[in-house]
Symmetry: C2
Subunit: 819 residues, 2 copies
């Protein structure tokens, strides 16, 4: 293996070291007066309480899932019980990533408030450094985890000279499964938590009691601020950790199918190296993210940081791709491409990501046509505001889908399926920077909340509001980026699944596949329904509790009595844990049920193909629902925010508390679960279902048993697991016609090494007769005489790559029955 | 051809005769006092004005489209300029079906009001007879049109003894295209009209001015009542006319691929005969639809009529299938089935339709869990009501999709793709009855409006309200039925498209196909966005006009001045005509652009396959969005209606004008364009795009030219158009090796008839030498020696049915390059 692989965990380590330095810096900042500290500690305690409760529930799930995985790993050739270990490490690191983010966010929030008492520049520095800690933590842990586990599994499963890479990668998929399943629960649970608290606090506090947002008298205000941390920070951290890992993994799975001479596994290493490089350039990018004066644009500072890291990564990846990939033609499933095609695909990924961000910003930004149209419709009431938002959200799917479709086709045309995957990996390379920018938003939001609750002077709130407003825009563009990368990653995982499952087409013209496509398309609908209904239910519990406290605790409104914050925190915690289970179960169980339930049911259609149809349905519908919900929610939010500065409708100017503003608040409230609960969960849903399918693929594979043995018809069968790489020259099929002695001589004359020779000779019995048999499940096809097909590949790889068969003349035994 | 085919237009004629009798009966009924007549004439005039304006716009479209079709019909072998004539007849009959419905509805409405002054039974009789006229008109015209055109085209294109059925059916597809494209514009235009008027009238009249619904002082009230007729009656009539025709046609297209001995075309005739039979049993069903007393259940009476016609049709279809289809095995694209499989598929269709109706009713009916959950959420405001409705709508997709998926798989397993199509045809058989029940709703609604505007005694309004409430339920179940049949029909059309386009798989694992799947999935989103935004815009124009009239015309509120109804009618008319163009253009143009735009762009992927991916995306996403929007809208509507009788929320009872009721009105207003504009349009969207694809399929077919000629490699080529059916025994390939005399002798000895003998001998030149050549575009593959493949089929049929090739041993020239 190329020694450069050791660079991967090393780069991750650099990220974590820089994170530690930044974290220490944030901790060193002033925390303000006692009141601020008290409020901040309520938030921190509430957040930790939620995380602990969530971890407890998830640990049961993780243990059961790990046991099942370990058991399943013993059943098929291409897996291994180690997959359970990988799964648990993925789950723990994902949770840890969320914890790091939340821990720093609950410290950075009050410090940002305090910093905002002196200057905007200082406040930006504290909040952005808080975000950076999280970004580096997530990316660093992901790279260290993936890198070291890859090295471990490579050394375990791929003894020198053989190429049983498939098992190593399949086991590594467990890591991604662990990361992504924790991410789903964290995202959904956190999303329900934060929106239940937010909606509940607003409906009673703002609407009924008429007190401002984040007022200390509102019993749900602490829960609301906790929600920002557990949903927008911890949930998002786990989410992006999962995406990041899944994207890299999908590229590795496809990369290992590109067979190169001399054990060259550079296509497998490339995505990890790009990620490592992106991490370093994200650190560089943070240097550019600063302002000097009160009037400097915060948005520009963030853009500077973001774009410098993206452009540096793009430039560097040219040299990396050129250095690491071999010259000449690379082939994946019959598609031929060059290393410059791979680089072009990376650029396609960056362009697609940038376009998606721009479109998302257009549809959700204040002052643009979509948000303005919602504002105009607010004049005729709640209903027309809602109609306007729904219409904007649906419309906003058009350009992103066209961009995505163009991205799929162009990246495919540059470098086949590997191109699609590496485009996603390129897009995700600067995740650390993306996340720093994303996490800065909720920190600033929290800082504003603390300023309001502590009744600090108005200029403090003004500064945090400035940061918060920018945070809303970055949150929207971040979501555009996230859904684009999720879509490309799902396609890459989809392609990886097809390969591992050993099918060569997913033909929607077959009735069961088409039926599965319908069912897959339906899943994002029921998932969204469950998520937003959960928010509705939890918010109603919250409303009732807040109303009860206002009623039963005298003196709250006069600041004489303190509300029972912890009861509201407990309601959100309990509700989110209860409600996250059903959507999570759908995502995890449906692929398993379909994959195993339809195994062997239809004579012409394998369950793998049916599952493929299901995944396609989930992906298409999930991407659409994700974009629709994120953008509708974002547009409603900013339509409401526009009223703060006053908006003109039919020549009249309206402000807060006007009738049109009330209509816009309705839209915002409807949009809350859209944009912060169900919308962002779509990313994880589509990826998680693909990963689950990938993990079960060896179990439902059509290629590893039965009829497909025909691939090796008339071939000498040798044991896969005991088969050292024979280099072509030490052809064991020759020995089959020789005596043991003749074989030994031939081995010597051909220059086979001792392992190879020993292997050949092990095929003779004590009497020197050729036996050459091994257990049926370990047989592999040793190859055609001309070496073009099946050589050194298991039957399954042959079945998975019918294109290589198609390229050949007809009549070769290996290929004849395959196309 | 089986003489039974002449029964088809005959049955249609029976339907029209019964319609004439019923229509005369309705016309004979009393029309009430002068005031009622005046109001009714406003409505009738407004409706006619809209229809005329719409027809004018659509006639331009129809003429241009017909010219293009006629031209395109000259370009390929399997089409013919006659397709333009078929298209125009389809368009005209579709418009006529809408007109018949609207004409009777605007007469039946005031007569129902007058009847309601005496008894509920009488009112039901008048309104239901009005509905029946429409139902019989639509079904009768469809059957006469399809039946006579089929007879015409069959005689034109399929001279006795040959089997060029494909062209006949392809040309007949023009009829369906005409019907469905008018249906789309009528549905979308009508939907925008009715909801713009409804929302506009409600927002100013009910909410701002505080006057009741249908109050004569409201300037938009006439437009609102016109809307019920142009949207819910004329739009729905054209819609169901289109669906009905498309369903039958799709089954015929697949039926002609089932090759039977002795020119047996019974699989082609079966769907038309089932439809004819369903029409007769719908007439029988109307006899059961009556009540005797004021307290009898109207719903039960309608159910009696509906179920008796369904059950009778099911029983009769057993005997029909048994009589008309041959014993033994039928084969379609390699799938073998028997006639009892076909009957089972019909039953599957009926069961799916019934289940869909039941589920739809559950999700939209008062007193059930979904509507109750929305009511409960209305207590906490507008936003939670909206969240509740969206959540219910999304949830409501689950069971219908599972039912549909099960329906696809089971009907396929019974009779292959023909089974899927015939299931849809069975489901649509009693369209006349379905439509009678559907159309009765808006008639009763209008009758109530006239009662209110004419200030008739309250018991009159009570009786019409009773009918109207039942009408709401039947409208919801009708929509469930409609979307189920649309989904199955689209699949059948999809399969038909695949056959005509000559592709044997739609592999979503190919990048361009997957990209097309995404784009297809996006189309229902942009279509819905355009439709609901159009309603929003038009409603705002209406609001401004109504506000202006209240402001500028003194005395309206005191009944002293009459509002300018015609201005509101003009606004709705203009807006709906303007706004229907963009969504209509998307549906019509996208398949054409994709089909021709990607022709030859990708080496491995034909544009037909890409278009197939697009259609799959449209169908899945369209069915989901249709169910979601219809059911969310229906549930919101009934949540609002529940407040009329009072609802209990947390122990307190709320009535109209309470805060929760206001929230529920918001939901209802949002739901209006969902359930009456964009939701029902999804049916037509998915079918229309499939039909457009089917019509262009011969032009983008991969099989008819070029490389596929290889299918006939080494074969004697004979002229397709001049080739009488050779019955197997008169094998012309034998003559190729003989002299002219030898051939003549052989023909005599084999018992070939004179046409066949003459055909064989025409292949010799004046000198008695075998020439056997004919123009390249008329060549066909005469078949392999063993007769298993290609025999009597054109190359394209061979290419379209690779399964029959796969079943054979390798090496036959006809099949070798095909699988």
């Amino acid at each position: 293996m190329n020694q450069i692989v050791y660079l991967v965990p090393l780069l991750g380590l650099v990220g974590l070291l820089v994170m530690a330095v930044k974290s220490a810096w944030v901790n060193k900042q002033e925390t303000g007066d006692e009141n601020m500290n008290r409020l901040a500690s309520y938030i921190a305690k509430g957040a930790m309480a939620f995380l602990k409760a969530e971890w407890k529930v998830l640990s049961y799930f993780a243990i059961i899932a790990a046991i099942l995985l370990a058991w399943s790993g013993t059943l098929v050739e291409n897996s291994h019980p180690m997959i359970a270990v990988a799964f648990l490490i993925g789950a723990v690191l994902s949770a840890l990533a969320g914890y790091i983010g939340m821990n720093i966010a609950t410290k950075a929030n009050v410090r940002t408030t305090q910093a905002a008492r002196t200057s905007l520049a200082k406040a930006l520095k504290v909040s952005f450094n808080g975000g950076t800690v999280m970004g580096l933590g997530v990316a660093g842990l992901a790279i260290i985890g993936l890198g070291s586990l890859f090295i471990l599994f490579y050394n375990m499963f791929v003894p020198i000279g053989t190429s049983n890479m498939e098992t190593a990668i399949e086991v590594l998929a467990g890591f991604s499964l662990g990361a992504e399943s924790i991410a789903l629960f964290a995202r959904v649970g956190g999303g329900i938590y934060t929106k239940a608290a937010d909606v509940g606090a607003d409906l009673v506090g703002k609407v009924e009691a008429g007190i401002p947002e984040d007022d200390v008298r509102n019993p749900a205000t602490i829960a609301d601020n906790v929600g920002d941390n557990v949903g927008d920070v911890a949930g998002m951290g786990a989410d992006l950790f999962g995406s990041y890992v899944a994207t890299i993994l999908a590229t590795m799975v496809l990369g290992q199918e590109i067979k190169l001479p001399n054990n060259d596994i550079s296509p497998v290493l490339l995505p990890m190296l790009i990620a490592g490089m992106g991490l370093i350039f994200s650190i560089v990018g943070t240097w550019f993210t600063r302002i000097k004066n009160e009037t400097d644009s915060v948005q520009n500072a963030l853009n500077m940081g973001n774009w410098s890291s993206i452009i540096l990564t793009a430039i560097a990846s040219y040299f990396l791709v050129d250095y690491i990939l071999p010259n000449g033609t690379l082939t994946l499933r019959g598609f031929e491409f060059t290393k410059m095609g791979v680089f072009s695909s990376i650029i396609v990924g960056l362009v697609v990501g940038a376009l998606m961000s721009i479109v998302t910003e257009y549809y959700t930004a204040m002052g643009k046509r979509p948000v303005n149209s919602i504002i105009q419709k607010s004049a005729t009431g709640h209903a027309t505001n809602i109609i306007g938002g729904l219409s904007v959200g649906m419309e906003s799917t058009v350009i992103p889908i066209l961009v995505l479709a163009a991205g799929i086709i162009t990246s495919y045309s540059f470098a086949g399926l590997y191109g699609v995957a590496i485009a996603a990996a390129g897009m995700m390379a600067t995740t650390a920077m993306q996340l720093a920018i994303d996490a800065f938003g909720p920190i600033a939001d929290n800082a504003g909340g603390i300023a309001e609750m502590s009744q600090l002077p108005p200029e403090v709130r003004e500064r945090t509001d400035n940061l918060d407003a920018v945070g809303n825009t970055t949150a929207a563009t971040g979501k555009g980026f996230a859904i684009a990368s999720a879509a490309l990653t799902s396609l890459a995982l989809f392609a990886a699944f097809v390969g591992v499952a050993g099918i060569d087409a997913i033909n929607i013209y077959k009735a069961p596949v088409l039926a599965a496509l319908f069912i897959g398309g339906m899943i994002p609908f029921i998932f969204s329904s469950l998520a937003i209904a959960a928010v509705g239910r939890a918010a109603m519990d919250m409303v009732n509790e807040v109303r009860r406290q206002f009623r039963e605790i005298p003196g709250i409104m006069e600041y004489k009595a303190q509300p029972e914050y912890e009861k509201c925190v407990a309601i959100s915690t309990k509700a989110s844990l209860r409600e996250m289970l059903a959507p999570g179960a759908i995502a995890l169980l449906v692929p398993v049920l379909v994959g195993f339930g339809f195994k062997g049911v239809f004579p012409d259609t394998s369950s793998a193909e049916i599952l493929g149809g299901l995944l396609a349905g989930v992906t298409v519908s999930g991407v659409l629902m994700g974009i629709f919900q994120n953008n509708a929610g974002g547009a409603w939010d900013n339509a409401k925010k526009s009223f703060e500065k006053g908006v003109e409708i039919n020549g009249e100017t309206f402000y807060k508390k006007s009738e049109p503003h009330k209509a816009s608040v309705t839209g915002d409230t409807v949009g809350d679960p859209f944009k912060d609960t169900s919308g962002p969960s779509m990313n994880i849903l589509i990826k998680l279902m693909s990963i689950v399918s990938l993990v079960i693929a060896p179990h439902i594979s059509t290629a590893s048993h039965g009829a497909d043995k025909d691939c090796c018809k008339n071939k000498t069968e040798v044991c896969a697991s005991e088969n050292p790489h024979m280099n072509g020259k030490c052809d064991m099929t020759l020995c089959a016609t020789m005596s043991k002695d003749e074989c030994a001589k031939m081995c010597d004359s051909l220059g086979c090494d001792s392992t190879q020779k020993a292997h050949c000779l092990s095929m003779y019995d004590a009497n020197g007769n050729w036996i050459g048999q091994c257990p049926a499940d370990k047989m592999e096809c040793q190859g055609d005489a001309d070496g073009k097909c099946c050589k050194g590949e298991t039957e399954k790889a042959c079945a998975a790559d019918p294109a290589s068969c198609k390229n050949k003349a007809e009549g070769k035994a290996c290929c004849k029955d395959k196309h």
